[in-house]
């Protein structure tokens, strides 16, 4: 990238370390600095998060005109509001007068957005409608047409997932998602009514770098035996640590990655364990290649670059229920070099039978989220990794990401992208870090 006034390349950190040396996909190398360095965090905010498409909300969170949700986009407060025309628009959640945060509830309904400070008001489409004591301004000093809410540069949705970006330069969302759409459709568009958010998301703040969470969801299926050893001991996960090692790791375009895992050879583990009533819908909504993947697998976990992950898994949160599927999407929102806000959604088919909805919810909440018997141990790990990786001595030594990288691409895999046989390996993690590095060092990382 450009050189700065300091004379050093802008790919160099203040201590002259080159960003290109922090990650090497080829050598399976990731520097510990990427998880704990404030300078890298600032560059990440500037070059990645203020440019890339990131998830903001789900369409079903704001079903009616006037419904709004407040979120953050690259650390800036934003509000999404549905207009009377049914279109969702997104704005910096900040009045043009003094910058006051206009909408302060997490969610609500409004006929217009009125600033609490001096009463400036905006329409649902962001137009400045009224200002206090407008007769005291000369027309030259109050041009309402130029004082609308600041729009999110690009806002678009895919299968209910609303994404936004502060960059007008990045290609459209569909292009950014690329062939990952083939896979997203498997989770979000497999039934006639699609998927909707069940309830409200769980939100919690954790002291870890967001990349630890993303790393875990890019393809780390092999942490289960150890991290979730307690669940194995309870008899709610198979005792053989290689039992869930069969399947594929997949690298789609643009840093989007996922994996598929085969369950036991039993029909109840086919189609991700979804209710059999939904199978005819899967058959008419998915193409033959997608259907083959859904039929043949029990779990699938992955990440939309950079920080939206998903999991389609079958779990038991108690001793009585059978393994029960759920689909969760979760965002790892950076709040600082070692702080992350997690927002975890449960998604359920709009057409799912009621008993299944309830069972899927129970399976999810008992195992994932801050209180889940699986996820509470994950967070212990990610916080302690982050803590230890802060050290300057620790940072002299890289981290190891070498599992399965010698294996050849499996060209018989039915989906797009590159795929490797076996559900254990670190190819997909490396793909994620490689993409991260590209965004930090390339002026136009979307051009290949």
């Amino acid at each position: 990238m450009n050189t700065e006034a300091t004379g050093r390349s802008s790919n160099e950190l203040r201590d002259r370390t080159n960003l290109m040396d922090l990650v090497s996909e080829k050598n399976a190398y990731v520097s510990r600095r990427v998880y704990a360095d404030p300078e890298i965090y600032e560059l990440e905010q500037e070059r990645l998060f203020r440019r890339v498409w990131t998830f903001i909300a789900h369409d079903s969170e704001l079903p009616k005109p006037g419904d709004y949700v407040t979120r953050e986009l690259a650390g800036e407060p934003v509000v999404l509001i549905r207009g009377d025309d049914g279109i969702v628009r997104g704005f910096l959640n900040s009045c043009r007068h003094r910058g006051m945060r206009l909408c302060r509830a997490d969610k609500g309904r409004a006929s217009l957005l009125r600033c609490p400070y001096h009463g400036w008001s905006y329409s649902k489409t962001g137009t400045l409608l009224g200002v206090f004591a407008k007769e005291l301004y000369s027309p030259d000093h109050l041009n309402k047409a130029n004082l609308g809410l600041i729009p999110i540069a690009q806002l678009d949705s895919y299968r209910g997932l609303i994404f936004g970006t502060w960059s007008s330069e990045v290609p459209p969302l569909e292009k950014f998602l690329g062939d990952m759409r083939f896979y997203l459709d498997i989770y979000l568009d497999r039934t006639d009514g699609g998927t909707v958010v069940f309830g409200i998301p769980q939100v919690w703040d954790v002291e870890t770098n967001w990349k630890f969470a993303a790393d875990n969801f890019t393809g780390d299926n092999f942490h289960l035996a150890s991290t979730h050893g307690s669940i194995v001991q309870l008899g709610l996960l198979p005792p053989d640590p290689m039992a869930i090692s069969h399947g594929h790791l997949v690298r789609a375009e643009h840093g989007h990655v996922l994996h598929f895992v085969k369950g036991p050879p039993d029909p109840s583990w086919e189609y991700f364990g979804l209710p059999k009533e939904l199978v005819p819908q899967l058959e008419r909504n998915l193409n033959a290649r997608q259907l083959e993947l859904v039929k043949g697998h029990s779990f699938s976990v992955g990440s939309v670059f950079p920080n939206l992950s998903f999991m389609q898994v079958m779990v038991q949160g108690d001793f009585e229920s059978p393994p029960t599927p759920f689909l969760s999407f979760r965002q790892w929102q950076p709040m600082g070099p070692t702080s992350t806000r997690i927002r975890s959604y449960l998604l359920i088919e709009k057409d799912a039978p009621e008993p299944y909805r309830e069972a899927s919810y129970k399976a999810y909440v008992r195992t994932f989220g801050p209180g889940g018997i699986f996820e509470q141990d994950d967070l212990e790990n990610w916080e302690e990794c982050t803590r230890a990786n802060r050290g300057k001595i620790a940072q002299r030594y890289g981290l190891h990401h070498g599992m399965g990288i010698h294996l050849p691409v499996d060209t018989s895999f039915p989906g797009p992208g590159e795929a490797w046989s076996g559900a254990y390996g670190e190819r997909t993690q490396l793909a994620f870090y490689g993409e991260w590095q590209r965004w930090l060092t390339d002026a136009t990382p979307w051009t290949r």
């Binding site: 509830a105 939100v203 150890s226 309870l234 909440v365 509470q376 967070l379």
Partner: protein, 173 residues
């Protein structure tokens, strides 16, 4: 149909007995006596913590009716207790140190004979050398007579926080 209820006055023998139960229960939790604690649950225990968002007053309290942070029954609570006895429940190994401060106890007798016991809590969780986590809120308990003592048939935990300011909820409320 709403059950008819009668307030149990502060200072009455029944009130004192139920408050004593709450104190004994808190002591078991804070001492790590989770099996003994689990024995205080009825077979049909419902243990729920709804998720919450920050909303304008006209929208209500912000609790989500059908989504939460805990939705437990007897079997899933048993799994949680047994999990803590395994050697790989990393979130609690080393163990957190909790303190359940239970106060503002209001007791109603329901026509079914069960007692509706509402209380406020302040729970602290100290872990390793971290800054302690603090949780406040209220519990709506249903206590049921079981021989000479009481069992917990329902606990609804209404947390004040909308964003959980902790990496996990690996303890009991």
């Amino acid at each position: 149909m709403k059950e008819s209820i009668t307030r149990v006055p502060t200072g009455s023998a029944e009130y004192s007995e139920l408050v004593q139960w709450l104190y004994d229960e808190a002591y078991l939790l804070d001492s790590g006596e989770f099996e003994q604690w689990f024995n205080l649950m009825t077979e049909d225990i419902s243990y729920e913590m709804p998720a919450r968002i920050s909303v304008m007053p006209k929208e209500g309290s912000g609790f989500a009716e059908h989504s939460g942070l805990f939705s437990e029954n007897h079997s899933s609570l048993m799994a949680r207790v047994k999990r803590l006895q395994t050697e790989q429940a990393w979130a609690e190994q080393p163990r957190s140190r909790t303190r359940h401060l239970i106060t503002n106890v209001v007791v109603d007798r329901m026509s079914s004979g069960d007692f509706d016991v509402r209380s406020a809590f302040l729970i602290t969780r100290a872990r390793a050398d971290r800054v302690s986590d603090t949780f406040t809120g209220e519990r709506h308990d249903i206590l049921r007579r079981a021989g000479s003592s009481w069992k917990l048939a329902r606990r609804l935990i209404l947390l004040d926080q909308t964003v959980i300011k902790s990496h996990n909820l690996s303890f009991f409320f």
